[in-house]
Amino acid sequence: MSERPSLLWIDWRLSRDPLVRETIGRFLYFCLLGFALLTLLLSGGVSRILADRYAITAVLRAEVPSAEAEGLARKAAALPQVRSATYRDPEAAWKEFLRAYPGLEPLRGAGENPLPGYIEIRIRPDRLTGEDVDLVASALRAVSQVERVLAGEEWLPRLLRAGRLASWACWGIFGAFLAGFFLVGRLQERARAVALATDFAFLAERGVPAGRLAFLRAAGAAISGFLLAAAGTVAGGGALILSLRKFPFLERVIGPPADLLLPGTVASAVLFSIGAALLCAAASLLGWSAARAGRK
């Protein structure tokens, strides 16, 4: 008996039907988790919503010419924290004002536009922090053409803190679902180990070490867990792309589909798959030891 038994897929060989059901269930769950993970990664929790709503306004002095103001906007847009910087001339500012407060046309009685031009600066979602906003605001204040910078510094820290809490809550819910997967997986592994106890005893009686059996079962669970998580994440990503195409307004909350292929997003998805593989292996080992402890 020189050849050693191949035990990597022993559960599959001995208990095919229940394992198929479990595998389908896990794949669907990973699709859900993958969808949630990619949504969270792209949206940054609530960062993209906040970044979409928040803008720094640099009010320019009345005498600044348009060409100079546009040059200033381009310089502001080149800052690493800035997503976009758009110059609005006094006329555009007046129209925006009237749209917001209709019926105030008499304020421009003598034909003079009482509003100055301004630059609207939007921050990148991943750079929306108090420090980065301060940096941008300080840079703008140092410019002689800028009369005033409106960055909401009085209420911004509270808003950012609330945003951070909301993001943590989102990730916490995701973590809870992942923990739920682990607990259910452990119970499934335990039930399977109990169901196959006589088969494992059979193999142990024929010289297969229990430790080797447990290790190879865990390795098999890790490999299948990785593949299922990767496939589930890809399927979840596909569902996310379809959702974003069908409901374009979601892009403002979640982000553009192209961001799914950013190296950071792909690396996170791979890390998630590796984490899922480790969880599957741990569930297998814990289920195995619980089944053995229950038998003793």
């Binding site: 038994p5 060989r13 024929r206 010289g207 297969v208």
Partner: protein, 231 residues
């Protein structure tokens, strides 16, 4: 050669037996009889390396099973086949599952080869076409024969059978007699434990060696060796 030296077992607060010596030579079929509750199943567990005796040692080809290398004991168990008396625990399986599991324990058996050998072995033990049958639906005789066929799939060097002959029933004794002799001729060792030996087998085997509560018979391997062919 499987040897038991001064074997002793203490069970249920008393000495079941002590100081027993056994010697089972290679390439032979051995028949051990003993009365109920004499520790026949226990003896098989000890000889298979599953249960350490409370006294004495088992030596296989000169190596101690219980005082030597653990890997050696595992290799020994891997080379053994075992048909237990009770197969209730496997009731949820089908006959085909027994073969699948046995192939796993053996390793290296290809799927096509396994199926082909399964059909051949089932036919040999009188269970042709039984691959899909559930163990729960089989009689004691059929269970024993199915387990025997599944163990033979791996081609074990040593085969331990617990109550197989009695369980199989009289109509299958001739088949088993021929099978055990064939296995012995091919260099395998067969050790059977039963409450009693079929009369014709006892006649063919000649005088047994008494060891404690047991009687040890060596079944003849060839027709010439046999004093009285059964069947």
């Amino acid at each position: 050669m499987i040897e038991g030296f001064r074997l002793g077992v203490f069970s249920r607060g008393a000495t079941l037996w002590d100081g027993l010596d056994f010697a089972f030579g290679d390439a032979a079929a051995w028949f051990v009889t003993g009365p109920p509750s004499s520790g026949k199943t226990l003896l098989l567990s000890i000889l298979r390396g599953e249960r350490r005796p409370d006294a004495g040692d088992v030596v296989v080809s000169g190596e101690s099973l219980y005082r030597g290398d653990a890997a050696l004991a595992r290799a020994w168990r891997a080379s053994c086949g075992y048909i237990p008396e009770q197969t209730v625990a496997d009731a949820r399986l089908t006959v085909g599952d027994l073969f699948r599991r046995s192939a796993l324990a053996g390793g290296g058996v290809r799927e096509s080869e396994r199926k082909e050998r399964t059909d051949r072995l089932l036919q040999m033990v009188g269970l042709q076409g039984a691959s899909g049958w559930r163990i729960a639906e089989l009689s004691i005789s059929e269970r024993g024969r199915a387990c025997l066929a599944a163990e033979l799939l791996r081609g074990p060097k040593v085969l331990f059978c617990d109550g197989l002959v009695a369980g199989a029933g009289v109509p299958f004794w001739e088949m088993l007699w021929g099978l055990f002799r064939a296995l012995a001729r091919e260099g395998n060792t067969v050790i059977l434990v039963e409450r009693r030996i079929p009369e014709r087998w006892a006649l063919a085997a000649g005088n047994p060696e008494p060891v404690g509560p047991f009687r040890v018979y060596r079944l003849p391997g060839t027709a010439a060796e046999a004093k009285g062919e059964p069947g």
